[in-house]
Each structure stands twice: as structure tokens, then as C-alpha cells.
């Protein structure tokens, strides 16, 4: 495997989405190529940074309540609310 081929696989490898044979060839290349190893580490960091830095907000309580109500209506009321939609 050359660097160009390996480069395309980096992203999927970070996600654990390579096929077994792809992964074997890819890891073999990494063991021989420090440049691609660096790229791979950077790709892992980029994924981590998205996970860490994109803030997940809590749903507003009013929304939470109305969703909960959805599942505690009696059947008739529920049907009505669907029709209303």
C-alpha cells in the first residue's frame, strides 16, 4: 500500500469502519510510514475535538414535559392530538 491509498483510509480507520483486509494492509503501512502515522494521529484528534467541543444542550423542560405527556395520554386524547396535527 502506498501513502495515497493509505491516506484515503485514515478517516474510516479512525471510525473502526475498515474491512479486515483493508485494516490489515493499512496498519502494515502505518508501521512503515511515520508520515501517515502522524496523519492518523491528527485524524483521531480531530474526531475527539468534535466530540469534546461541540456542546450538547439539554432539551428545554417544557419540551420534555410535552413529550412525556404524549406517552401518558389516554388513547382518546392521544388520537385527538394526532388529528390536531
Amino acid at each position: 500500500m502506498n501513502c495515497k491509498k493509505a491516506g484515503v483510509l485514515i478517516s474510516a480507520c479512525v471510525d473502526g469502519e475498515l474491512s479486515l483486509s483493508e485494516e490489515r494492509d493499512f496498519l502494515l503501512h502505518l508501521s512503515e510510514c511515520s508520515e501517515c502515522r502522524g496523519e492518523y494521529e491528527d485524524a483521531k484528534k480531530t474526531k475527539m475535538i468534535i466530540r469534546e467541543k461541540i456542546i450538547q444542550f439539554k432539551a428545554p423542560e417544557t419540551l420534555m414535559i410535552s413529550i412525556m405527556q404524549l406517552t401518558s395520554f389516554n388513547t382518546k386524547e392521544h388520537e385527538e392530538s394526532l388529528l390536531y396535527e
Partner: protein, 211 residues
């Protein structure tokens, strides 16, 4: 005063009894399987609409539809993925098909969201010299949103929500190979953008301790 009101109790009982056993079972299962993903759905919705009130409407609609069609949810598969797909379809029907513009993109509000959270710049155990860790929440958010939607979407679904390629492919109705190459290309763009921010950050903050 704390005495239970007998009429009220009776009323509650009638309502409860009017539910069929299956319906109650369905409700419990729905809460366990679907309602637990409320926060994730809300955030996805917020990312799509960029507007909190549209985001809430979309989530409401999604849960109504999901509850109605809960029987068609294939048990044992990823319920979160199923809900995300419903939400995405709703979003398309609502805003795209009718070529109706979503509510005004509220950048200020998003900014406020981000400002309301104290940035923890030194909260990781990674090496200090790493430029990634100097990035602010807001910058990463902006970098993500600077990407074309088809790239942003897959990165979000993969990195933030943790869906598999197969689940994403199903959600965005494209082959797995397409998902894979969009992630590859999107991440390249994203990294370039992040490096840009990091450079600017380093340049503008000479006085910060460089630990």
C-alpha cells in the same frame, strides 16, 4: 389538606382503566426506547434548524410520528437512528420541499448559548502543546458550520452521535461508500478550518501563558 380527594382519585382510575393493556405497554416501551433520546434529538434538530423554536416543533412532530408508527420500529435495531431518520424526513418536508425557509438562522442566539458556558481550556489530559486544545467551543462550532451541509451532516452523525456508517447511510439515503468519502473529504476541510482558527488564536494571544 393532604387528604386525598376521593372524586379525583376515582377520576384518575377511570382514565387509567380506559387505556388498553397494549397501549400502556406501548407507552412504557416508547419511554424506555425513544424518549431517552430526547436530548440528542433536540441537539440534532437545533443543528438543522439553527433556531430553538423550530427545533422544538420538529422534535415534537418527530415524537408524535414515532409514537404513532412505533409498531413499525424494528425491535432490536437502533431506536435513536430510527428517530433521527424521522426527524430528518420531517425537516425536509417542512423546510425543503415547500421551499419554505426555516426560521431565521439565529447566530447570536447560538453565540449566547456558547458564551453561557464557561470554556474549560485546560480540561484534558492530552499534551499541552497541542493546538487543538486551544480551540474554543464556539470556534469548533463555527468551523463545523462552515462546511457544506452534506459534509457537516455526516461528521455530526458519526462523531457526535456515534452512528455506524451503515446507520448513517440509511439516514441520509446514500450508499455506505458515499458516507465514507464524505467523511473523508469533510474532515479534510474541517481540519483545514480548525488549523486556521488555531493559528489565529496563537497569533492573537501572545500574552496568554503558553503552557
Amino acid at each position: 389538606m393532604d387528604k386525598p380527594d376521593p372524586t379525583r382519585q376515582a377520576k384518575t382510575r377511570t382514565i387509567k382503566e380506559s387505556l388498553s393493556r397494549e397501549e400502556r405497554q406501548k407507552q412504557l416501551e416508547f419511554q424506555r426506547e425513544a424518549v431517552v433520546h430526547l436530548n440528542a434529538l433536540y441537539n440534532y434538530s437545533l443543528h438543522l434548524t439553527m433556531n430553538p423554536s423550530d427545533a422544538e416543533d420538529l422534535v415534537q412532530e418527530t415524537y408524535l410520528k414515532a409514537y404513532r408508527f412505533f409498531n413499525s420500529f424494528e425491535r432490536g435495531t437502533n431506536c435513536k437512528a430510527w428517530l433521527f431518520k424521522i426527524l430528518k424526513n420531517n425537516y425536509i418536508n417542512r423546510f425543503r420541499k415547500n421551499s419554505k425557509e426555516p426560521g431565521k438562522v439565529d447566530y447570536d442566539l447560538i453565540k449566547d448559548f456558547y458564551h453561557s458556558i464557561k470554556d474549560t481550556r485546560n480540561d484534558t489530559s492530552e499534551t499541552d502543546s497541542d493546538y487543538f486544545h486551544s480551540l474554543l467551543h464556539e470556534e469548533v462550532y463555527q468551523a463545523l458550520h462552515s462546511l457544506p451541509e452534506e459534509f457537516r451532516e455526516v461528521i455530526q452523525l458519526c462523531d457526535i452521535e456515534g452512528f455506524t456508517y451503515e446507520e448513517i447511510a440509511n439516514m441520509v439515503e446514500s450508499p455506505i461508500g458515499t458516507v465514507r468519502s464524505r467523511l473523508y473529504r469533510g474532515r479534510k476541510l474541517l481540519r483545514a478550518q480548525l488549523e486556521e482558527y488555531a493559528k489565529k488564536y496563537g497569533f492573537n494571544n501572545d500574552n496568554d501563558n503558553d503552557q
